[in-house]
Symmetry: C2
Subunit: 151 residues, 2 copies
DNA sequence: GGCAGCGATGCAAATCGTTTGCATTTGGCC
DNA sequence: GGCCAAATGCAAACGATTTGCATCGCTGCC
């Protein structure tokens, strides 16, 4: 049980609100999507397609549908994609006013994931942009280590 | 032509020295490995297996051999693996006294890669370790943006 | 509430990067 | 030169993700 400051539990949107966000984008609120959103709402830890699939009531939908749904949810800004360095995409629900920028600490033994509150690069990003001539500079930062349990 | 400060050209080991580093680990200095190291020595930008393969004199070795060779070179600390976020592993030669810790700025349009000199997290890493109880904390940090050419 | 139409889904096959089994070759060392 | 473990070629296997296509089911509209 890592002692890191977890970000405060953000109030998660109710299902009808999520349905609305989808319809606003001319997307359907299907059974599969409802179930996927329910899973993501239940646990804020970034989850892979397979993890989500495994938590769905048996055979509710095909794995391909999960992949397609998460793409769509990412497009409309309802989920954020994370790359924790193991070649598997993970997703977490986003509040409507959240850009999802955040970082994690991942145990390299058991893959436990802890959200990190720091973002060390507010001004660094600007400095890099100025020096390089690159525009729209963003960053991806993840920490790795061995969790207390695995030590 | 990005204006970013490229890291100073580090003196690269001569081929015989590289051969030696391999033999010291009881590994053979084969034709394939010699060619792969030559490619990496010629261009310090992190390169994928396929990129290296493409620069090798026609059919000098199989792609599988490149994969195996890079694993081995990584094991003995002669190359460093980078993950620039596109699902393809890239590798760069390491000097004997270099741990290879560095960061990059990647153009999301044309994939141009620029090495970044900053590492914003010397003390952050320690703070995170203390707060989380995780040991051996490291980090991976990459920047993304749109290069001058692609803007 | 019923309907048409477009978006969504299931299923299977395809992709892509990477790994691996196995028979064969080769570099390093005496 | 010869031995032998290490290295290689080739093709098949893999795991994550994507896609083609026929079918199905939300939604907006009447
Ligand atoms: Mn940040
Ligand atoms: Mn760093
Ligand atoms: Zn752990
Ligand atoms: Zn570019």
């Amino acid at each position: 049980m890592p002692a890191v400051t977890q970000s405060l539990p953000r109030r998660l949107a109710e299902m009808p609100v999520l349905a609305d966000r989808l319809r606003r984008h001319a997307r359907k609120f299907t059974g599969a999507r409802q179930a996927i959103l329910a899973v993501l709402r239940h646990d804020s830890r970034p989850m892979s397609n397979k993890e989500i699939f495994a938590r769905l009531p048996g055979g509710l939908c095909d794995l391909a549908t999960i992949y397609r749904s998460l793409h769509l949810l990412e497009e409309v800004g309802m989920v954020k994609r994370f790359d924790l360095g193991d070649g598997v995409a993970r997703f977490a629900l986003l509040r409507e006013d959240d850009d999802g920028h955040r970082h994690h600490l991942v145990c390299t033994r058991c893959a436990e994931v802890v959200e990190i509150e720091e973002c060390c690069t507010p001004e660094v990003e600007k400095r890099i942009s100025e020096r390089s001539g690159f525009k729209a500079v963003t960053h991806r930062l993840e920490f790795f280590g061995i969790c207390p349990t695995c030590q």
